[in-house]
Structure formats: C-alpha cells, structure tokens
C-alpha cells in the first residue's frame, strides 16, 4: 500500500502567534491538528471513527493574534505620527480613543467570548488551540459534527445512562486523584491594580504640572509596577496567581514599554525637525499631552479589566 496523498480542508479557527500557530484540517477519514512553530509543523491525526466527544467550555483567552497586533500597531503609529505632524488636530484624540476602544473590545472578547476546546478519544484528550473564540467553536462544531456522525452514526436515547453502564468496569471506575489545589494569592495582583489606578489618576491630575513632579511620580510608579509584575510572575510559577492575571501583568508591562517608546519617538521627531525644547516644555507639547492621556486611560482600562478578571467566579479556583 503506498502512502495516499490526502487532500485537507481547513476547518474554522486559526491561531496565529509570533512563534506558534495552530489549525485543524479535515481529511476524508481523519482530523489533522497542526501546530506550527514558524519553521516546523507538528501533526496529530484523529480518526473520525475514534472521536468520542468534543467539549467546548467558555473561559478567558487573552491571545493576541498577529493580525490584531498589526492593526493596533498601525493605529498606534498613525496616532503618534499624526500627533507629531498635526498637533492642533482633534482627530488625533479620536484616534487615541479608537485605540482604547479597540483594546476594550479585545478585552471583552478575550474575557467573555472565548473558549477552550478539547477532543476526546479512548486514549487521549487533546486541546485544539485554534478553536479559542466562541463563534469559531460554533462553526467548527457545525462542520465537524455531521462528518463524524456520517462515519459513526449518532447516539440514540440517553447516552449518559449508557455511558454509566459502560464505565462500571474496574479500570474505568478508578478516577484520577484530584490535584492538590494551590491557594490563590491576591497581594501582588491588588498592588498592580492599585498602581495602575494611581498611575492613570496621577497622570490625568498632573497633565500641566512641573517636569520634576511628573518624572518623580512616573519613576516611583514604574518601580512599584515592575515589582508587582515580578511578584506576579513568581506567583504564577508557584501556581498561586489568580487565573488570567498573568496576561494582565504582561499587558501592563507591554503598555508601559509602548508608552515609553512613543515618548522617545515624539522626542526624536521633534529633534529631527530642529525643535529644541526644555524638559518642562516637552511635557506640555500637545503630542506629549495626548500620549500621556492615552497612557492614563489605558492604565485605567487595564485596571478595570484586571478587576473584572479578579472578580470572576473561576479566578479563585
């Protein structure tokens, strides 16, 4: 028997990351789960005849796809360049606001419209990383269920009772011992939320303050923020960080980095135009004021999302 060259049809869902990606493909008799690592792909096949169940659960997934990041990057560049070229235009404020709205939409989708999908066979239980949004999961199930049903047929009657009967064998009735739950700790998460609120409020309150006050505040807040993020990563390594807060810590650090480099970009643009300004004047430039407002509102938005993450029923598990 020679190897048959399979034709694959792509199923809904594609996870696109910087270094890793995933997708699921349908062949005539099996599903192919593809995990890609830029220059390498790994494959796992699931015969349609062997699939026992597909389980999809709603849960937060803070994945940033390369496409959405590209959109955000274009918006951010447009905002910075626009603020530099046309400081008097209010359109730049609208662009900044649009960026914040985009971020909030992403946060909402990540929190409320995301899911995790598992495929169950007799010998394995594998996650399908490409199915991570609820609308994708719906379309995935719509396409896959009839194909599996065409191979296996469908279950008549109450399958749960039949399953209980089948499970009454010695091997199947031995459940896995429950994992010892590590208690969740909230100290560093609370500090991060507090720092972000303090950062946002202080930036808005000191928009027209002196450079020394603004710089001193910013440096102090940055030091606490970095300490809080470091503490959260230690908690994550120990398994005691509340679910979802790792991504909030990453988002906070990335946001801080973006704000810093935006400031550098504005200074570079001004220097390139031959504008020499003092530190006090620089902070009062319209571009810088806009940047600090965006930074402040982003901080407040991040703090609000973090609070939502912490308040979720599942975060304490």
């Amino acid at each position: 028997m020679t190897e048959v060259r399979q034709r694959y049809r792509k199923l809904p869902g594609h996870r696109r990351g910087f270094l890793r990606g995933a997708s699921v493909w349908l062949a005539s008799d099996h599903l192919l789960s593809v995990r890609s690592y830029r220059v390498r792909e790994e494959y796992k096949r699931f015969q349609l005849n062997d699939v026992q169940a597909i389980v999809v659960a709603r849960c937060p997934r803070f994945h940033i796809s390369t496409r959405s990041l590209l959109l955000a990057l274009i918006g951010w560049l447009a905002s910075v360049l626009g603020a530099t070229a046309f400081p008097e235009r209010t359109a730049n404020g609208a662009l900044g606001l649009a960026l914040v709205v985009m971020f909030l939409v992403w946060a909402y989708v990540s929190l409320k419209e995301s899911c995790r999908c598992y495929l169950l066979t007799a010998v394995s239980r594998d996650e399908l990383p490409s199915v991570y949004r609820t609308w994708t999961a719906r379309r995935f199930l719509e396409q896959v269920t009839p194909r599996i049903a065409a191979v296996q047929g469908s279950i008549e009657g109450n399958w749960v009772e039949a399953l209980e009967g089948a499970a009454a064998t010695p091997a199947a009735t031995a459940p896995e011992p429950p994992k010892a739950a590590v208690p969740k700790r909230y100290l560093w998460s609370a500090i991060l939320v507090g720092v972000m609120v303090a950062s946002g409020v202080s930036m808005l309150a000191t928009l027209h303050a002196s450079a020394s006050l603004v710089t001193g505040l910013a440096e102090g807040i940055l030091a606490i923020e970095v300490a809080a993020v470091a503490g959260m990563f230690v908690q994550y390594a120990r398994g005691s960080l509340p679910d979802g807060m790792r991504w909030m810590a990453i988002a906070a650090i990335v946001k801080t980095g973006l704000a810093y480099y935006s400031g550098v970009a504005i200074m570079s643009a001004l220097s390139a135009n031959g504008v020499a300004v003092s530190r006090d004047d620089l902070l009062l430039m319209p571009q810088y004021l806009l940047l600090r407002q965006i930074d402040a509102w982003s901080d407040l938005a991040l703090a609000a999302v973090s609070l939502l993450v912490l308040a979720r029923p599942g975060s304490a598990q």
Partner: protein, 193 residues
C-alpha cells in the same frame, strides 16, 4: 470515562450532559458537549494470543503462540498479540516500526521542517541586522533552489514562499552589488579627479 470540563478538568455533572451542555460545578463554566457513539464502545480488551499446538504455524516473535495471519510486508507469521490491523491488511510490529514499503502509510509522519519558511525568513529577518544580508540574501536564493523539491507542509500546497525568498534574495544581492559598484566608482573618482 467521565467527561471533563474543558476549562478546569473537573467532572461535568452527568444529569446535565444528555442535553449536550453542562455547567461545571467547580468553575461555573458552561460546557458544550458533542458525544459520538465511540464513547459507548467497549474498550478493546488486550488480545489474548492462543497457544500453538504441534504442527500449527507459530508466531515469529512468540514461537509458543498460534499464528493468525502473515505480515503483508515481510510475510512473517504473527499471533493475535502481534498482528497490527491496518485497513484490510495485517502488518507485523517490526515492519510498522521501520515504516518501510507497505508499512509506510501505517507510520504517518508527525512533523515536517518548513524549508520554504526558512528560506523566506533568511532575507527578511536579517534586514534587522542588515550587514548580514550580504550573506543571507544569496544564501536564501541558493537555499531555495536546493530545497525547492523537498516536501512542503502537509496542508500548504504551493511554493510562493520559495518564490518570495528568491525575489527578496535577488533584490538584496542586487542592492549590495550596486552599493559596491557605487563605492568603487566614488573611490576611483577621488583617486583620478
């Protein structure tokens, strides 16, 4: 086998599962469950090979066990325990392990290196450290031609990355040649005004 919550791995409440959806009692996540008849199939019991009596064909690897089939690849007799069913054919474990000939399809590949992606990344990533393009640009062109006929991804069917890599490599190489020619001309102008 209990159906586990896709979020927290806790067992889902069975009284809700027959409706195709269940809310996890541990994390509170709503789960959608599509179950198929394979779930109710009894697990295959370990094949018990029968002992061979005198005069009967015996398994190549287990001389005391009765042979039930011959490997379609190498012809060795195999017992119930050793017989690997692959579609309509039966293979022996050693043929499956080596994956040669007929057994090749029984041993499908689990990974592939994407040479087209490597070729494309070479001239593009090295742009971040542009002096490296002096090596990577012609390197990408040569690499693309050398690996052109190697298998691509199982699911991608075209070679546009190779084409793009060759084009990027040619453009970067041409720019380097232009730069060298330009610098040489400038030097000559200075030496011979």
């Amino acid at each position: 086998m209990p159906i586990l919550c896709a979020r927290c791995d806790a067992s889902l409440p069975e009284w809700e599962l027959s409706a195709g959806a269940a809310t996890c009692i541990q994390c509170g996540s709503p789960n959608t469950v599509r179950a198929f008849p394979a779930l109710l199939r009894a697990p295959a019991s370990a094949a018990a090979a029968e002992a061979a009596i005198e005069g009967e064909a015996a398994c190549f690897d287990h001389p005391t066990k009765r042979a039930v089939a011959a490997c379609h690849q190498c012809g060795r007799f195999v017992c119930q325990l050793c017989a690997v069913d692959f579609g309509p054919e039966v293979l022996c474990p050693s043929c499956v392990a080596t994956g040669r000939g007929k057994a090749r399809a029984a041993n499908p590949e689990t990974s592939r290196t994407l040479y087209d992606s490597i070729a494309l990344l070479m001239p593009l990533v090295s742009l971040c450290f542009f002096p490296f393009t002096l090596i990577t640009a012609p390197g990408a062109v040569v690499f693309s031609f050398l690996r052109w006929s190697r298998p691509l991804s199982l699911v991608r069917r075209n070679r546009w990355r190779f084409v793009a890599a060759i084009m990027a490599g040619v453009v970067e190489t041409a720019l380097w040649i232009w730069l060298v020619v330009y610098l040489v001309a400038r030097v000559r102008e200075r030496l011979n005004p």
